[in-house]
Amino acid sequence: MAATAPADVPAIAKKWKDKRGSLIMALHDLQGRYGYVPRDAALELGKLMGVPLARIYEVTTFYNFFKLEAPGKHIISVCMGTACYLKGAPELVARLSEKLGIKAGETTPDKQFHLQQVRCIGCCGLAPVVTVNEKVLAKVKPAEIVDQVYACAKGA
């Protein structure tokens, strides 16, 4: 995701400043713009919303969703929920790791792919499930996973 002008931050702060308990919603907006929560943008947001940076970090590090570093271009999430695990998710991770040369939780050096294991994403009826960015791959077979991921990345 391309970095945008810091001009976005005042607009986000203005949108949420007067709504009670809206820090998380403001951070969602921020991450929506940058793909992660950059430190300087968080600092700026805090100043404008009257929230100390420490509290912003408390929130961003508590919640799984917020990232403090720029992720890869394509985010591959392999569900490790009970049903997906039963139906072979570990093998999917192994195949992807081997192909991409990275472990789960890492990004490829060219910043194209980020591979992560996630907890149940609530599609247990479709197990095993992998998501590539926003696209959901259902009932994935180990032999096909690598091709499917590349096809998604190409289509994106």
Binding site: R20, G21, S22, L23, I24, M25, L27, H28, E58, V59, F62, Y63, N64, F65, F66, M80, G81, T82, A83, Y85, L86, R119, C120, I121, G122, C123, C124, G125, L126, A127, E134, V136
Partner: protein
């Protein structure tokens, strides 16, 4: 947006199946106001609701015996009764749509297929409790559902079903959607309230209960999506009609999400009290030979095959088997599966999701996870099965602020006691199993 088909027969074994929550689940475009209205949505929003006093609505829901569908099964009418009369502060209604328990995927379907039933239920509930502002707290990952919900809210506002003076009555209600950010603990009602206020979602000590002092220090009722979606039916048809389904202590119907070794995984609405084996047949039958079943979401103590065969899907039957109905997530597994590895996915989940507030849970969940990892990697010792159990015993009920600790302990305790030989088999493979484990070598703590 079709992630799951919803296809259940109208009748099963000669009996009609209830369609209280799932009425519009298989109607194309049922999430659009126009279509929903053609199928009877918002029938209660008018004299059926506003000509009755709020306390009559609370009474009707209490009479229906409706119990919370999020997991705890607390009687909804009783919860509503805790809200003080004339508190001198606003009363908030918060809908818990932070569904994140492994195996549970019913609320997602509710939001996708029939958001208007949720809104209708919120109007009924809001009227009964004197609520002016309500929130829907949706799990952050459910972006498509948030879009559907926002669209439904816009439609309802445009039709005069929300906002000032709903449908010409004197009652006004505003609904806001709040997006979570990926923390299982925010499904706990006080954690959810903290998150709603913009803080990290660590649970609060109760009392004070949210009904007395919740969001922003004001009385707050937190209810699950499915619970609220049952309310319009009760308002429209009465408690007696609702009690046609289910058992004496578990009246009504419930959505069950079934996954694992089952032929047709998905969501089904069935009357409470149905035998598990009959339910499996309804869902296309089990695949392979049943070894065990997680009956109510990942926290629910596992059942052996024998227990599953005599269990029925209601609160009493499962609590008599020392398990629970929970959120209605049913995961049967067959004899080709390894219970030790199933438990490992659960201990990993709980170690990751522990919020870190209470020592027994923060340290214990990580400790258990690492002992189990060592055991699976071939480094198990003779005392390890008992060690796992004794560690889990440290975060049982009454040891932590919220129910997460107990919910993390129950799968460990139940798996190691009911499937002990599988654990012993791993240990037997280690030639050095008699060596005493160097406990200092196993790092405690959930964070690594």
């Amino acid at each position: 947006m079709t992630l799951y088909g919803f296809s259940q027969p109208t009748h099963w074994n000669g009996q009609e199946l209830p369609r209280i929550i799932s009425r519009l689940f298989d109607v194309p475009d049922g999430h659009r106001l126009e279509v929903a209205r053609r199928h009877g949505a918002y029938a209660t929003i008018g004299p059926a609701l506003f000509d009755r006093a709020p306390y009559e609505i609370i009474h009707e829901v209490a009479e229906s015996g409706l119990r919370g569908r999020g997991g705890a099964g607390f009687p909804t009418g009783v919860k509503w009764g805790f809200v003080p009369r004339a508190p001198g502060k606003p009363v908030y209604l918060v809908i818990n749509a932070d569904e994140g328990e492994p195996g549970t995927f019913k609320d997602r379907l509710c939001l996708t297929r029939d958001p208007h039933l949720l809104i209708e239920g919120m109007i009924c509930t809001g009227y009964a409790l004197g609520v002016r502002t309500a929130y829907i707290y949706v799990r952050g990952e459910m972006l498509p559902q948030i879009c559907i919900l926002n669209q439904a809210l816009r439609e309802a506002y445009d039709a005069g079903l929300l906002g000032e003076r709903i449908a010409g009555s004197r009652y006004s209600l505003d609904i806001f959607v709040h997006r979570g950010a990926g923390a299982y603990i925010c499904g706990e009602e006080t954690g959810l309230i903290n998150s709603l206020e913009g803080f990290k979602g660590q649970p609060r000590l109760k009392p004070p209960f949210p009904a007395v002092s919740g969001a922003f220090g004001a009385p707050t009722v937190v209810n699950n999506v499915e619970t609220i979606m049952a309310v319009p039916y009760i308002v429209q048809h009465g408690a007696k009609a609702y009690r046609r389904w289910g058992t004496e202590k578990s009246p009504g119907s419930k959505l069950f999400s079934v996954s694992g070794d089952i032929a047709r995984p998905g969501v089904y609405e069935v009357p409470l009290g149905m035998p598990f084996m009959e339910f499996f047949a309804l869902a296309g039958g089990l695949v392979g030979e049943l070894l065990g079943c997680i009956p109510g979401g990942s926290s629910a103590p596992v059942l052996t095959a024998e227990e599953t065969r005599r269990a029925t899907m209601d609160y009493e039957s499962l609590s008599s088997l020392k398990s629970m109905l929970g959120s209605g997530a049913v995961t049967p597994f067959n004899t080709t599966r390894d219970p030790v590895l199933i438990l490992q996915t659960l201990t990993r989940f709980y170690a990751h999701e522990s919020c870190g507030q209470c020592t027994p849970c923060r340290e214990g969940t990580g400790y258990v996870d690492r002992v189990l990892d060592a055991l699976i990697d071939g480094h198990g010792g003779d005392g390890d099965v008992d060690l796992l159990k004794s560690l889990a015993d440290q975060y049982e009920p009454m040891t932590t602020i919220c129910a997460f600790g107990p919910g993390a302990a129950w799968p460990v305790q139940s798996f190691v006691s009911k499937f002990r030989p599988y654990f012993e088999a791993y240990i037997a493979k280690n030639p050095q199993r008699q060596r005493t484990r160097d406990l200092a070598g196993v790092r405690p703590g959930a964070f690594w």
